[in-house]
């Protein structure tokens, strides 16, 4: 701790000194600059155009390369000459210095920057595999999560929605390339401006670029925490220009894509009767009741026929987004500021009362100010402040409970309102099942989240010590807080009894303020400090970076989490044609025993631009070809399956389960031994290899890249299978191993024909995984073992399942059952039940007939393709995204419901009956002894492959003749949509292939349409 404090004090005094240096400037003084422009061999370059940024003032260099120009001390001076890279320099720093121009090479231009961890390279120099997407290419959509608009755009990056899509959540996960761990710990790390931060709730307008770091050459820098891949986001910064203002306004609608539809009372009741009869129970609904359900004139209080979906959900919900940005600067100060507002409505109907509206609503305010100070010739300071405030309102009963009531309450359960105006309910659906009462009288909650992200970044050139050396320090301070407030209210449900009186359930209470609830408080500090050395010696370019890194994350009820390490990178290039990188980092993790917690993670990569070699110079179709490869080691200390921190120790719990003794039954405290620790616990050792090429063909119209990759992960956690007579379980051991291999490819075609601009793009990734080692019981039959199989599982009820029975259709006759092996999952098996295959040929179907399969919710392949085109004032763009080799389970959908609803739902119509035996899709209905038909089996598995028009946008820009009258520099109107079209093989199932739980368990997946205008001044 002591060292820690000293470090911050030292860091602060360092900042103070740099500010002292900065105070020496005098801005906006008229000066004359003289100088000489030379090429890299120090030969004068005549005819170079030298201009002051954003002014018409310009001069050309004389024959001896000299020039003289009058300007202000805060101006930025631009040197332009065909064949040479454009150079920008602050006027003050040009004073009598020689200006060196370097010749332009392909992929070394102004727009070819690639951001690598704590460095920037030209595209040609990079030998790692990094895919980058410009922030400008993100579709303009009013979406609460950026993840939804990123899917399908980058090779090797798979984004899958895996949780609630309710406004403000939009839960999704990143997977980079593939899975080599059968434990669920392969979530990629997201870094925003080099620091670990949440990304999905940023506004697209904050983002300069999103890069995906995929191979050893880029990830070894992060030692123990980058092994799952990194999504590296850079925020926008100002340029030395006049003030630029942009305004955006978007308004749109969202519509649920697929959602269950309810059964009417008659159908429900008759199917329920059938299910009871099949279970040997006499039917609940009498013929008279059934008749009454069918007769529209019968008393709707006694024979209700609700459609909860129609009554309580909206078909259309509104969404809006407004963004304003201001940016600009001069040679010494540059700034970018942004403020945005998103407002997304919820899809509940009838949720307002005079006091509050309980319908879900999400409001988000994002702000960002990035300031760059060029203090003097050798000192640069950046100060970035980002923040967001989120306001998420939702019914206090909770989204899950309300959706359950809306989706799963039978149409005849109760009248929503009784004749006397009270809320209806029954003894079966009593606790929280009247959606109207829940929405209207159940209270409301609002989660207010506040997020502040601040970074200071200082770079001091140390040319006086060593030419090309600089010192860089970055310190971040992020805080996050969340609290909940709102109203609590409760209500009474009433049920009319046969005697004419009401049974009541619950007690009505008026709304009162809910007590404030702190739910989250979090602080994260990161420090990165170290040296860069960047210099060219003739044909030899050398770049070396080293950084010391430490991180402290603090939250309540926990010891601070800390991390530290040193990252180093050496880059060498020869003739800007041969490139090599050596990366080595040394990192430690708190998850392991002291003395066993630091590791060294080296990597090597190399690139070679073949197209610039003599033997390819004449290949005219080929403008550019680079081959590159990398190999290296990384670690992963995020062992999410560990039950507790510091599991290398066996610890003792002071507060275990207690027991009540004595005549006052006072709870006596308990205390106990924790799961036995594993002192040998270590990080996962991840080896990644990648080999690929980048190319540009056909007069630079086509760019094509491809990579083959392989990853092996050793020391995966796996259970230690000791006999239970030990009496205690053990922390998992590092005895597993997994791997994946595959390839990814990326193509981009640009064509300009007159005023017509066309861009086509596509990417494709294929992976194949394998479990090399995992601890499994010795007695397990071969077909139930996971070792040797793909790392795969199907998501069902929130758990991952890979073991299934093999279904063999549905039993049609008793004779067929008599001749088949005995199925031991339910008491009785009758025609209409699912028939399973006898895998081990013991003539009994039981748990020994489950087979480990490679059905997987993660696709074998994923891809995206699309186009953008513009013609004069019109532009259009679209993106398709798809997956291949993916499996989803419909078991929970088809069997949705409870004991109280008899598991009758819209799919029950397609059940097996003797009459419909030939066409039945699902087994017979049962209210009791259902286990034979609810086993995990491939009967319920469906292809989860899909191709989706993820988004499309059409725009029109006003001609400059019009906008100049309004002092605008551009004005564009556009119509944009998300999730517009889906192709899949699910037939009539009302289920989204991308997110199978949406619309029957969770909030539905939404299609979004939005109309917007973007104005630039």
């Amino acid at each position: 701790m002591k060292f820690n404090n000293i470090r911050y004090i030292v860091f602060l005094s360092f900042l103070f000194i740099t500010w002292l240096g900065a105070s020496a400037q005098k801005p906006d003084e008229q000066i004359t600059i003289d100088g000489k422009v030379l090429d890299k061999n120090r030969v004068p370059v005549p005819g170079v155009n030298i201009s002051v940024q954003e002014s018409r003032k310009s001069v050309n260099t004389a024959a001896d390369g000299s020039f003289s120009l009058r300007c202000s001390s805060s101006d930025m001076i631009i040197f332009q000459m065909p064949g040479y890279a454009t150079l920008r320099k602050a006027a003050l720093e040009l004073d009598s210095a020689a200006v060196i121009l370097t010749p332009t090479l392909l992929y070394a231009g102004d727009k070819d920057n690639v951001y690598i961890p704590f460095g920037v390279r030209k595209k040609r120099e990079v030998s790692a595999t990094i895919s980058t997407l410009d922030g400008d290419k993100l579709p303009q959509l009013p979406s609460s999560s950026l993840n939804t608009v990123l899917a399908g755009r980058l090779p090797g990056l798979f984004i899958y929605q895996n949780g609630s899509q309710q406004p403000g959540y939009d839960v999704s996960s990143f997977l980079i390339r593939g899975r080599s761990s059968y434990n669920n710990n392969q979530e990629a790390v997201v870094l925003v401006d080099g620091v670990q931060r949440a990304f999905e709730s940023m506004d697209p307008n904050e983002i300069e670029s999103i890069s995906v770091l995929k191979d050893a050459a880029s990830l070894s820098w992060y030692g123990m925490y980058g092994a799952n891949g990194i999504v590296y986001v850079k925020t926008k910064r100002g340029t030395a220009s006049g003030t630029k203002v942009t305004l955006d306004a978007q308004g749109g609608i969202q519509t649920p894509m697929r959602i269950v539809s309810p059964l009417d009372s008659y159908t429900f009741a008759s199917l329920y009767n059938e299910a009871q009869q099949n279970s040997g129970i006499s039917p609940l609904y009498s013929p008279e009741t059934l008749q009454a359900y069918q007769d529209p004139s019968s008393d709707s209080y006694l024979y209700p026929n609700n459609n909860f979906i129609n009554s309580f959900t909206k078909d259309i919900t509104p969404v809006q987004r407004y963004i304003g940005t201001i940016s600009g600067g001069n040679a010494f100060i540059r700034y970018y500021t942004m403020l945005s507002f998103l407002n997304q409505g919820g899809f509940y109907k009838g949720a307002d009362n005079p006091l509050y509206d309980a319908n879900t609503n999400f409001k988000r305010y994002n702000l960002r100010t990035n300031i760059d100070l060029h203090v003097n010739k050798s000192l640069d300071v950046s100060l970035d402040v980002g923040g967001r405030i989120t306001n998420l309102r939702f019914p206090r009963a909770g989204t899950a409970n309300i959706l359950d009531a809306i989706y799963n309450t039978p149409a005849n359960a109760f009248p929503v309102l009784n004749r006397d105006g009270s809320y209806g309910g029954t003894s079966l659906f009593n606790s929280n099942d009247n959606p109207l009462a829940m929405l209207q009288a159940g209270g409301v909650s609002t989660d207010v989240g506040r997020n502040l992200l601040a970074t200071i970044d200082v770079k001091q050139k140390l040319n006086s010590i060593l030419e090309g050396l600089s010192l860089n320090a970055l310190y971040s301070y992020d805080v996050r807080g969340l609290f909940r407030y709102g109203f609590t209210q409760s209500y009474e449900l009433r049920e009319l009894t046969s005697g004419g009186t009401y049974n009541t359930y619950g007690t009505a209470a008026i709304a009162t303020y809910a007590s404030n609830e702190f739910r989250e408080n979090f602080r994260n500090n990161e420090l990165w400090i170290g040296f860069d050395y960047d210099r060219t010696f003739g044909d030899h370019g050398v770049n070396f970076s080293t950084r010391f890194n430490s991180r402290v994350a603090t939250t309540f009820l926990a010891l601070d989490e800390k991390r530290q390490g040193i990252s180093n990178r050496l880059t060498y290039n020869y003739k800007q044609r041969y490139f090599a990188d050596l990366i080595g980092s040394y990192y430690g993790s708190e998850n392991f025993m002291p003395g066993k917690r630091y590791g060294f993670f080296p990597a090597f990569s190399a690139g070679w631009i073949l197209s610039e070699e003599q033997f390819l110079k004449n290949a005219h179709f080929l403008d550019y070809l680079k081959i590159r490869g990398s190999y290296g080691l990384m670690g992963n200390d995020a062992l999410t399956t560990l039950s507790r921190r510091f599991s290398f120790n066996t610890t003792w719990n002071r507060g275990g389960t207690g027991y009540n003794f004595g005549t006052s039954f006072a709870g006596a405290n308990g205390s106990t031994e924790r799961t036995l620790g594993n002192p040998d616990l270590t990080w996962e050792k991840v080896t990644k290899a990648s080999l690929g090429f980048d190319s540009r063909l056909m007069k630079q119209a086509v760019t094509l890249s491809a990579d083959y990759f392989y990853e092996n992960r050793k020391d995966l956690l796996t259970a230690s299978l000791l006999p239970n007579i030990l009496g205690q379980s053990l922390v998992a051991v590092n005895e597993g191993e997994g791997e994946y291999r595959g390839f990814e490819t990326d193509i981009n075609i640009n064509k300009k024909i007159g005023a017509f601009n066309l861009n086509l793009f596509g990417n494709y990734t294929y992976t194949k995984s394998k479990i090399v080692a995992i601890n499994e019981s010795a007695g397990l039959p071969a077909y139930q073992k996971r070792a040797g199989q793909a790392i795969s599982s199907v998501l069902q009820s929130g758990s991952y399942i890979s073991s299934f029975l093999k279904a063999d259709g549905i039993f049609q006759t008793q004779e067929e059952i008599d001749n088949a092996p005995v199925q031991r999952f339910s008491g009785t098996v009758k025609p209409g039940d699912i028939r399973y295959k006898d895998i081990n040929n013991d003539n009994v179907i039981d748990n020994l007939d489950f087979v480990n399969t490679d059905y997987n919710f993660v696709p074998k392949s994923f891809y995206g393709f699309g186009a953008s085109a513009s013609y004069k004032s019109f532009d259009i763009a679209f993106l398709f995204q798809g997956t291949g080799g993916r499996t989803i389970s419909i078991k929970d959908l088809i069997n949705s419901g409870t004991n109280n609803t008899g598991y009758i739902n819209q799919f029950s119509v397609n059940r097996w009956t003797p009459e419909t035996a030939a066409t039945a899709e699902y087994p017979r209905l049962l209210t009791a002894d259902r286990s034979n038909n609810t086993q995990n089996s491939d009967f319920w598995l469906r292809s989860g492959d899909y191709l989706r028009l993820k988004n499309a946008e059409i725009g029109y820009s006003l001609p400059s003749s019009v906008i100049s009258k309004f002092r605008m520099s551009s004005c564009r109107f556009f119509l944009s949509g998300l999730n517009l079209l889906t192709f899949d093989s699910l037939g009539d199932l009302p289920l989204d292939p991308e997110l199978p739980e949406a619309g029957y368990v969770t909030y539905p997946y939404m299609r979004t349409w939005s109309l917007g205008v973007n104005v630039k001044f």
Binding site: I6, I529, Q564, R654, A668, T672, I725, L848, D929
Partner: protein, 567 residues
């Protein structure tokens, strides 16, 4: 100037980088989440004492055995679970197997045994501060006595299910060979008896020997009761195929030892044995050892008839169970011609324990009549949770418990593991088997104590007056039958039937057939018609079902255990 700044910066950077020391990371010496180290743990007087409390937590109530508050009684001819999907049915529907286990306590019990063994080893070296005026040695001895009892009890829980187990009398180490074969049944019995004796030597005599704050802890009589039960099991046909009378005599002696202490007695109210909110009922003299009290209303909500505030009517006693209750006046079974049973008024004049154990049509509960007739508010098929037999559970259920509305009311009920009535029955049964009619007087004395408990007052059993009340033939077999029936009635729904039928080797007789219920139809003149019916539920029992299967996943870890025959 510039150079100076540089040196300063370089010096700062030097400090920063050299501070990449290993102290920065948490070293784990302060365990996260408020845990402590082993040394701190056993050095602390409270934590080491509390460790024993945590061992007790392995002993829990059995009201909510499997999903939906089903009880083990549902897996016998005592009752049916109204949730027909409950996994309690796996016991009886023929699907019970090593890959489909129910109530598999193998792991839980060994977890408890490990804790007991840890405590036995660690307590003498701990810093426990003695209580109740004892010296450190005396208090540690007493605490260890509790651990001995618990270890014995956990072993018994294993043996009664699996037939035998690996005896664990020390803390196993993760590095040693744990693939051990099971000890024989006899070795297990002797170990349990030995541990009981160790406990008896160290523990206070009975519940009332503990100060109020410590009532509920193990006692000598608890250990003696456990010894009585395990020896009774060991003498029973399941484990004593040669019917060695010495084993019966040993069991009888173990039961007699408790009776001779003359401490425990039958409680005045049969109902309130279990209702500890009732004044005077808590730790009543009949209860020898019980789990900590369950304090709640879910037990009532899950078992009350369905019309009572959305109750779920889970455990439904069978007609077979109801038939086992004798006639109050004659002390004869209803099958007896002379019993006075009227099948058109079947609930009148019955053993008072019927009222206290079973809710039947017309009985008053919470000031309302229970209506289990067809079409009644609690009747068959009225909703999915309605009774499947025509009856609901009454025993354990509390009338004052409130589970609905803004103010709920919890009621306290222990799960009684050993009570004095069982000891009397154990004694009667063992003595009859060991000595037959020679010990008739002693046997009758024991059984009749139970029959004549206050509030029950059934006619005493007798063998002398053939036409009198409570008559049975003076043969060992006839006496056995009545003792068995008395046990069935007195201890109904308390998890005895499941094991008693097994140890009597009568599984095929009672458990291999469907159970029955009663369909009551109300006539127009408000009288009722009673029709027995067979509950549509598979009930299978075969030879292998006498013992639980060892789960396949456990066998995969430890093949030396060996599977029980037939599985």
């Amino acid at each position: 100037m510039k150079t100076n700044i540089f040196f300063l910066i370089a010096a700062c950077a030097g400090v920063l980088i050299s501070s990449c020391n290993k102290d920065f990371l948490q070293d784990g010496s302060i365990p996260a989440d408020g845990d402590v180290t082993e040394q701190q743990f056993w050095g602390h007087p409270d934590w080491s004492r509390n460790f024993l409390n945590n061992i007790y937590a392995t002993v829990d109530h059995r009201y909510n055995l499997l999903d939906n508050w089903s009880m083990l009684a549902d897996a016998t001819d005592e009752a049916v679970c109204s949730n027909l999907n409950s996994s309690i049915n796996n016991f009886t529907n023929g699907t019970w197997s090593p890959v489909r286990t129910v109530d598999d306590v193998w792991t839980d019990m060994y977890n408890g045994i490990r804790k007991a063994n840890l405590f036995l080893v660690k307590a003498p070296a701990s810093n426990i501060i003695p209580l109740d005026g004892l010296t450190f040695e005396q208090d540690v001895a007493r605490l260890r006595g509790e651990a001995f009892f618990l270890r014995a009890y956990f072993h018994f829980e294993l043996v009664k299910r699996y037939g035998s187990a690996v005896i664990a009398t020390r803390v196993f180490n993760q590095d040693e060979n744990l693939n051990l074969p099971r000890n024989t049944f006899e070795e297990c019995v002797e170990q349990i008896v030995t541990d009981c004796d160790s406990a008896i030597a160290r523990l206070p005599q009975w519940t009332k020997s503990w100060v109020d704050a410590r009532k509920g802890r193990a006692t000598q009589t608890a250990a003696m009761a456990l010894k009585s039960r395990i020896l009774l099991y060991a003498a029973s046909p399941q484990y004593n195929p040669s019917n060695d009378p010495a084993k019966w005599q040993r069991a009888a002696n173990a039961a007699k030892a408790i009776i001779d202490l003359n401490l425990h007695k039958l409680y005045t109210s049969y109902t309130n044995i279990f209702q500890w909110n009732v004044s005077g009922a808590a730790y009543n003299d009949e209860v020898i050892f019980a789990s900590q009290t369950y304090n709640g209303f879910d037990l009532d909500r899950n078992n009350a008839p369905v019309s009572y505030d959305a109750a779920l009517g889970r455990t439904n006693p069978t007609q077979d169970m109801v038939d086992a209750f004798e006639m109050k006046t004659t002390g004869r079974l209803i099958t007896d011609q002379k019993s006075g049973y009227n099948e058109n008024n079947p609930y009148s004049g019955r053993d008072p324990r019927l009222d206290m154990s079973v809710m039947y049509n017309g009985q008053t509960f919470k000031s309302k009549p229970v209506e289990t007739f067809v079409g009644g508010k609690d009747g068959l098929d009225v909703n999915v949770n309605a009774t499947k037999t025509g009856y609901y559970l009454r025993k354990f259920i509390s009338e004052p418990a409130v589970w609905y509305g803004a103010t709920t009311t919890s009621r306290r009920r222990p799960w009684v593991i050993f009570r004095y009535a069982e000891i009397l029955l154990n004694y009667a049964e063992a003595l009859n088997e060991a000595q037959g009619t020679a010990a008739l007087a002693e046997v009758l004395k024991s059984v009749n104590l139970i029959r004549q408990r206050s509030g029950v007052a059934m006619p005493a059993l007798q063998t002398t007056n053939a036409s009198g009340n409570g008559y049975m033939e003076p043969t060992k077999e006839a006496i056995r039958a009545r003792i068995h029936n008395e046990r069935r009635v007195e201890l109904c729904f308390e998890e005895h039937r499941f094991y008693d039928v097994r140890r009597w080797k009568e599984g095929e007789l009672y458990f291999n057939k469907p159970v029955t219920g009663i369909r009551i139809t109300r006539n127009s003149d408000n009288t009722y018609k009673y029709d027995r019916f067979t509950v549509q539920q598979t009930r299978l029992f075969s030879e292998k079902n006498y013992l639980f299967p060892i789960s396949q996943s456990e066998l995969n870890r430890a093949s030396a255990l060996g599977q029980n025959p037939g599985y």
